[in-house]
């Protein structure tokens, strides 16, 4: 039993990294734009399909393919912002974005069904099945690479936000949009670029998701979005590091519970969310911790 729990903990930590890759874009978009992007789950699947196409049609390695899919998803993000998000104004803007991004999800899903059909697909490479033995069980390379990528992307986003001029504009917009305009920040440009970056990151999350999890089809995003939202709330909405911490915590907890009783795993996942928010409403790294950044 000890061995099983140890394996479940390692599985949970590494799989948590995969979820962090999918959640950081969501929390970044919320932090800057006050948008709860319901389309994030479907965009993850879109990222997985782009990697699938490059891998199967052009025989490009999944990681090398990110050099194409990340910019492509960035452009898609900017276009979505330009076409659907930037027009929303007023006090109902945040709630309206729920509906608008849900509509975006339906559109993207429909296009994916049209192009790829309903048959499930998966991403395959040598490192998606090859593994090394640690503590008496095997850990697959893709999980290790995925976790390293998650930490690296969190670090890169921090560097972008706190070490660049663009990052200062983003933080100024996050703190007070009106004041940012008054000091000359092009808020619309910042919003479009931030939405683009948030979507671009999902290209990485989609690739790792497709390579590690069950086969996906255009509908798979809907099973993801509720978990991703739970993760970013638990981590502290808008906190990039919080998304990583919450992903690891939630998925590890779920993984351990699955050993005991799989049917309870999902319930415990959401019960943990409620419990933590009762004790700490701002989430793990919300409010005070974010201010200290």
């Amino acid at each position: 039993m000890t061995q099983e729990i140890l394996q479940a903990v390692v599985d949970g930590i590494l799989t948590g990294g995969v979820y962090a890759l999918m959640a950081v874009g969501l929390t970044l978009i919320f932090g800057v734009l006050d948008i709860i992007n319901i389309a994030q789950g479907v965009l993850v699947i879109l990222g997985a399909y782009l990697s699938y196409s490059l891998s199967t049609k052009a025989h490009i390695d999944l990681f090398v393919g990110l050099l194409i899919t990340v910019p492509a998803m960035f452009v898609i993000g900017v276009v979505i912002h330009w076409a659907f998000i930037r027009r929303l104004r007023g006090t109902e803007r945040t709630s309206m974005t729920l509906l608008v991004t849900y509509a975006v999800a339906l559109i993207v899903e429909g296009v994916l069904y049209k192009i790829y059909g309903a048959d499930p697909q998966s991403l395959n490479a040598s490192y998606t099945t090859n593994s090394i033995k640690i503590f008496g069980f095997y850990v697959t390379y893709i999980y290790i690479y995925g976790f390293i990528l998650a930490v690296a992307i969190v670090g890169l986003l921090y560097a972008l936000l706190y070490r660049t001029r663009f990052g200062r504009s983003v933080r100024a917009t996050m703190q007070d949009e009106t004041a940012a305009r008054l000091v000359g920040v092009d808020v619309n440009r910042v919003a479009a670029l931030t939405f683009g970056i948030g979507v671009a990151v999902t290209a990485v999350g989609g690739m790792v998701f497709g390579a590690t999890q069950a086969a996906f089809n255009p509908n798979s995003g809907y099973d993801l979005i509720s978990r991703l939202l739970a993760i970013i709330i638990l981590g502290g909405m808008g906190s990039i590091a919080g998304a990583l911490v919450a992903s690891v915590f939630m998925i590890t907890l779920e993984s351990v519970v699955t050993i005991w009783q799989p049917t309870w795993a999902v319930a415990v996942f959401y019960a943990a969310l409620v419990l933590v928010l009762v004790i700490r409403p701002e989430g793990f790294l919300g409010r005070k911790a974010v201010r200290a950044q």
């Binding site: 499930p120 590690t212 089809n217 509908n219 909405m237 779920e254």
Partner: protein, 449 residues
């Protein structure tokens, strides 16, 4: 520097929590929208009449108008790969019938609505088809989970409910079917479908039987009954159970459960699955843990032709088994004709081996209804129900169909099929000793590197 971000208000957290709960409900319902799409086998617009529901259910034998048949299918959502295959089966049957002049001179017109794999939407769809579209007849949806609530709508309106993918005991045990006996499943009843596998184990010398087995099951009325029956029978044969747990029907991560099984290294795995992704997830996790079960059988998934082999890789498919009542190589003239037509029209990867069993199940529904219409001389649902309960034996691409009192196909025989020849050939392997069965591949070949 202390900054208070305005976006970290409690209102925003409340909104986020509402969003999570909303989307959780959305995901739990496996619905991605309640909008419906419609398709038809003919290019004519939807038939809309002012006839009452009862008039539609009774039909008019002298009419030459097209026979309108309504169905709800999971064109999106968790069952979308099966739903899409079912749609092709229904449409292929309708096209064949119409090409031959229709049924008793009447063309067939299909109206197919999308239920997005959702139990509430499927009920709404059949209410729409019957009470608003006034279709003459209905076909069933995909999965036992959706068939049970849908059949109750049909029963309330006096419609016969012929279906091909609702074989779970819970479908026949509904109060409406117990009272009205309107459900007819043309396919194999699921409860006993793993018995050929159990009988095979029993036929092995004790030294060659699996010593232990794992039974992971999806929380689904289709997946659990046959696996639980197989578990009890195998335990009686001395096969030790090392894992028997039910997991949620729609988890996003199976790795922990699969890793726990791999750690126990059972000789056999009997997986209560409903779809390809579930089977693929377990196979992938087993491969990652360098664990190859000697015998690996799944309740559903490997029967989905190229949809399965493309997801798991053809070489990994070798040795995978699945129970069913039909396979593309079935030596039935109508079946061969259907497979040929399907391959010509849809070009599945792997040719004939890539034809999904769902297609045959859907096609059989149409065939059974066609024979009932001809035998009763029209589209009166009550006459069709009486006829189908009349101890008649009908023909289908899946073989003979004969309904018992609850509408289960008592003439269907359970077979076990297996992918062989590096995943390029899907063949019948059990029961042993019958002419169509090939030698079983035991143990399962290693995973491809």
């Amino acid at each position: 520097m202390s900054i208070t971000p305005p976006w970290f208000s409690r209102n925003v957290f409340a909104m986020g929590a509402v969003a999570v709960l909303s989307v959780s409900v959305l995901a739990a319902c496996t619905s991605n929208g309640s909008s419906s799409s419609s398709s038809s086998s003919s290019s004519s617009p939807s038939t809309s009449t002012s006839a009452s529901t009862s008039a539609s259910a009774t039909g008019s034998p002298a009419s030459t108008a097209p026979i309108s048949i309504g169905a709800s299918l999971s064109l999106t959502g968790d069952f979308s790969d099966d739903g899409q295959a079912f749609k092709k089966g229904y449409e292929l049957w309708a096209a064949d019938v119409n090409a031959k002049g229709g049924i008793m001179g009447r063309q067939v017109k299909l109206t197919i609505l999308n239920d997005a794999s959702d139990q509430n939407q499927v009920v709404t769809n059949y209410q729409t088809l019957i009470n608003s579209d006034h279709v003459n007849l209905t076909f069933g949806p995909f999965s036992s989970k959706l068939t049970a609530p849908a059949s109750e709508v049909a029963a309330r309106n006096g419609y016969a409910f012929i279906e091909g993918a609702g074989g779970a005991p819970s479908v026949f045990d509904t109060p409406s079917n117990q009272a009205d006996h309107n459900v007819f499943d043309v396919s194999l009843p699921v409860a006993d479908e793993l018995m050929p596998f159990v009988n095979y184990i029993a036929s092995l010398p004790a030294s060659q039987r699996p010593k232990n087995a794992a039974y992971p099951m999806a929380d689904d009325p289709f997946a659990d009954p046959p696996v639980q029956l197989a578990q009890s029978k195998l335990q009686a044969l001395g096969v030790q159970t090392v894992y028997s747990k039910i997991f949620p029907a729609e988890p996003t991560d199976y790795k922990s459960a699969a890793d726990a099984i791999a750690a126990a290294k059972p000789d056999a795995v009997v997986l209560g699955s409903t779809d390809v992704p579930t089977v693929q997830a377990f196979m992938k996790a087993f491969q990652q843990q360098h664990y190859v079960p000697k015998l690996f059988i799944a309740a559903a998934g490997p029967d989905q032709g190229s949809a399965f082999t493309s997801a798991v890789g053809a070489q990994n498919a070798a040795g995978m088994m699945v129970p069913n009542g039909w396979y593309p190589g079935y030596s039935n003239a109508a079946s061969q004709q259907m497979v040929t037509e399907y391959v010509a029209q849809y070009h599945p990867a792997g040719g004939a081996s890539g034809v999904n069993a769902d297609v045959a199940e859907a096609y059989s529904v149409g065939q059974v209804l066609q024979q009932a219409i001809i035998a009763t001389g029209g589209i009166d649902n009550s006459k069709i129900i009486s006829y189908l309960h009349g101890n008649v034996t009908l023909n289908s691409v899946q073989g003979p169909v004969k309904f018992d009192a609850l509408g289960e196909n008592g003439a269907a025989a359970a077979f076990i099929f297996q992918w062989q020849a590096n995943g390029t050939s899907f063949v019948q392997v059990l029961p042993q000793g019958v002419p169509a069965s090939k030698p079983i591949l035991n143990p399962k070949p290693a995973w491809s590197s």
